[in-house]
């Protein structure tokens, strides 16, 4: 692992969309350093540009200006440096759970021709079996390893997506509101799983959410984005919380947790638009 303690560095990152001849500013001058091995949550109201920021870091949509670097190298098109877990349970539906988890490993080491030869496909699956099995157990999917995604619940699909991304051992794992569409119980279980897996693997996680409680519960560091108001500087506030401060469900009830939530609300969620006179 490189010595650089900063895995992701954003300098003056701006994103502007052109629509019907009009430009709309989504992100303005975002400056942030993401330290290696931390779980950083990005929280903010709808439309503040959280997902745009994540898409830019993923290399899916380029930033309009500014620099974004991973381990000192400028961000390029998507590659296995950056794993991704989307909100809408995007796992290839045509593969079983086991095949899904092994997919990245196969892409990494097998040629396209070999993908088309069933013998090679089976052989490579067997080769990665121990690694895949370990990941399946880690995310609690060993029981359903031969099922197809359509046979799984939303929570299980997200577990597949997490295991699939972890198998690649990316430099940073991007998670775009991964648990927003899940019921509260499943969401809580997956939050705990994310923490366990992150602590065990030491992977850097960039976790986008609109839920303040989730952001405080999970984050070692919280990046609060507020909605951009024309002619006013956008606020990007990074709140550092001591590691492991609020990572237990019981901590959610503490006054400190509540105060922290309020601090985030004040920083990013208060409506900053000019008030219309009655």
């Amino acid at each position: 692992m490189p010595d650089n303690p900063i895995v992701l560095q954003l300098k003056n990152v701006t994103k502007e969309y052109q629509r019907d001849g009009e430009s709309k500013l989504i992100l303005r001058d975002i400056n942030v350093d993401i330290p290696r091995g931390e779980l950083v949550t990005i929280v903010g109201p709808s439309g503040c540009g959280k997902s745009t920021l994540l898409n830019g870091i993923g290399g899916f949509v380029p930033f309009t200006s500014g620099t974004a670097e991973i381990d000192g190298a400028p961000i390029g098109p998507p590659n296995r440096d950056r794993g991704i877990v989307f909100q809408d349970m995007t796992v290839p539906e045509f593969l079983t759970v086991r095949q899904n988890v092994a997919l990245g490993l196969q892409f990494e080491r097998f040629s396209l021709l070999e993908h088309f030869i069933p013998f090679y496909r089976k052989l490579s699956l067997r080769k990665y079996d121990p690694q895949v099995q370990e990941l399946l157990e880690e995310v609690g999917l060993s029981e359903v390893s031969t099922s197809f995604p359509k046979e799984l619940s939303g929570g299980q699909k997200q577990r597949v997506a997490i295991a699939q991304a972890l198998a690649m051992n990316p430099k940073i794992l991007l998670m775009d509101e991964p648990f927003s569409a899940l019921d509260p119980q499943t969401r809580q279980n997956l939050q705990k799983l994310t923490l366990t897996v992150q602590r065990k693997s030491g992977i850097t996680v960039f976790f986008v959410t609109h839920d303040i409680e989730e952001a405080v519960f999970l984050g070692d560091r919280i990046l609060v984005l507020s909605q951009l108001i024309e002619d006013k500087p956008g606020s990007t506030i990074v709140l550092n919380q001591p590691l492991n401060a609020y990572h237990s469900p019981a901590a959610k009830l503490s006054p400190e947790f509540q105060a922290y939530k309020q601090q985030i609300w004040d920083a990013g969620f208060v409506d900053r638009r000019p008030k219309k006179s009655a």
Binding site: F60, P78, N79, T90, Q164, M168
Partner: protein, 267 residues
Amino acid sequence: MSLLRIRQPISKKAATTLCLLSIFITIGGYLLIAEIHHRAHPRDQMVPTLAMLIQAGRTAMTPDEFTGHVPLWADTYSSVRLVFIGYSLAIVGSLIVGLHAGAWSWLNALLDPTLKFFSYTPTMALLAFFLMILGSGDESKIAIIFLATVVPLTRSLILSVQNVSEKQIWKAETLGASNLEVVWITLRKTTEPQFLDDVRLLLGSAWVYLIASELIASQNGLGYRISIASRNLNVASTLFHVLVISALAFITDRGIWALNKLRNRWN
């Protein structure tokens, strides 16, 4: 009444019964009308009875006295061969063009006018053109089948590929997939159920174009046999060969359906 409720599900047993009932009504109804017509006009051959259809089948299966070939087998082989070659070329062609044009917008922009032009051109009108440049042999018929099916198959595949969520593509890229792996693994597999359904549904068109071209210019094949029979006003033989074509198309349709189920259990 619950049967009037929109999308009210029915049991498997009821579905099978209704299916058999519709077949029975169609076939039974026809045979009944034919029988009544035959009794009223015993010398008329225009509405053949079951016995006349069976006789037509026997004649088709009587070996030719000069060549020793059974006409039905020879005709079926000839027609199936042409459909197979023409349609297989169309499937492979549309797969290659459709997947790539769906993936790369510039390629789609380049091919779109040509595909649209051919989709609006009545393919049968080009038969005369093909007969002139390719002759009246198999090549012109293969070309007609190919052209008539490759365009709708390709256009449909392009749409399916374009409908695959870009997140699926991004996901594959973050897992280290190359462009060709995204196209030939992620996009091909995701669109395969729809593509195989298209292949199944357009098979009927392939047969239509083959029979039509055999009716116009041919020395053998099921279409040729129908044209001979109709020239002799032999309605029984015409209907018999139509039934053979329908049976072949039905079997292939079910075959592709089963293949789709088998290959895409995930869907």
